[in-house]
Symmetry: C2
Subunit: 195 residues, 2 copies
DNA sequence: TTGATTTCTTAACCTAGATTATTGGGGCCG
DNA sequence: CGGCCCCAATAATCTAGGTTAAGAAATCAA
């Protein structure tokens, strides 16, 4: 098993795209090193500078933060085909942790690379579309956190990420929703009882 | 007073950038029609397709949604130099309203234009940076909504958007924070009393 | 398989913020 | 100038979800 690499930006930019057996539409937009991460591996810690971008070829990663009271809040999950990263400014220390919920196969790239222009037009467009989509997803998330009760946020999660649901413990879903595991258990029970 | 225009994407792409007296770093990245919007004007309604992107040259806009119970939730404010839009997918109906909190001068452009490639490299980079920054801001917002109590979210707002604070009624700040005006009034009072 | 460690559920109680209602202060327009 | 409407503040009451605790079920390691 290999470790998350510690390379300079320049080194990263020189890395070649490595074709793997796993194909995915935007794989060619990526250049990075492939690493195998056992379940539970922490890829990135809170406070690290020069944080990376992780593309999940196989498995499941998550990003989360730990607040002042020591409580964990999951910001996002990333399964096959997804990209995950802390979105802090490039020079600022990362605010979040990223670790592996399942044993995973990950391609890791440097953040600065996102600004590089030496990509074919088609791929630049693809990336732009993905960024815009991420903004949309976050917009929705903010709106739901502000306006929807826990049970609705849960149902929305089930509909939106059906492939994630069976792969993570329920307490992680609760954490993503912004509530405690006990509260999720409760609202689920009440909801089930009401029909 | 002029109205928000209703033009086809093609028409928009043909519009020329109009120099105005107001200068701003990324103004050149914009092509659109300039409109004058009186206070209270609704630029975009929930449900409209082909929603636009608004660049604020002067004044103050906000985007918000109205939930099932008829309550208003402010998603963001945009003052001079900011860009505001609903981030729904281009073909989907908009989820939010956009209106003018102050009488404003706005440049309106078509969403599809975001994908166009005929911009100088420098400006493309600038746009990308802005998108990444927006993602960062949203990440922070989600995190705060999940982990910080109302009073802290309020303090964070004061620090982050000091120029907005004196320009909007307090109930709008409360709405942005995801709480009621009464609750904001309460926590402020408690906080002040505690020192 | 068995013991140990998470995870889920339930339940009793607590608290931040919602709801509803009332008051007073401005700002704005006739 | 006076009336009106919007806004902020306070207070009483209510509720969704948090906290704490404990037992049952599932998962994992040896």
């Amino acid at each position: 098993m290999s470790e998350a690499p510690r390379k300079s930006p320049r080194e990263f930019l020189e890395l070649q795209d490595r074709q793997s057996g796993i194909e995915h539409p935007d794989h060619r937009a990526w250049r990075g090193t492939e690493i195998k991460v056992p379940k539970g591996t922490i890829l990135q810690q809170n406070g690290e500078t020069a944080s990376k971008v992780y593309y999940v070829k196989k498995g499941l990663l998550r990003s989360y933060l730990i607040d002042r009271k020591g409580k964990e809040h999951i910001f996002m999950f990333a399964s096959e085909g997804w990209t995950i990263a802390d979105s802090s400014p490039p020079d600022a220390p990362a605010e979040m942790f990223i670790d592996a919920v399942e044993p995973s196969l990950v391609e890791v790239s440097d953040k600065l690379f996102q600004l590089e222009a030496d990509l074919p037009e088609e791929l630049r467009k693809l990336r732009l579309t993905k960024l815009l989509n991420r903004i949309y997803v976050l917009q929705k998330r903010v709106i739901m956190l502000m306006s929807a009760p826990a049970i609705e946020r849960y149902e929305h999660f089930l509909e939106t990420y059906p492939e994630i649901v069976p792969r993570v413990p329920q307490r992680m879903i609760a954490s993503y929703l912004g509530i405690t595991p006990e509260a999720l258990s409760k609202v689920k029970g009440e909801y089930a009882r009401r029909r």
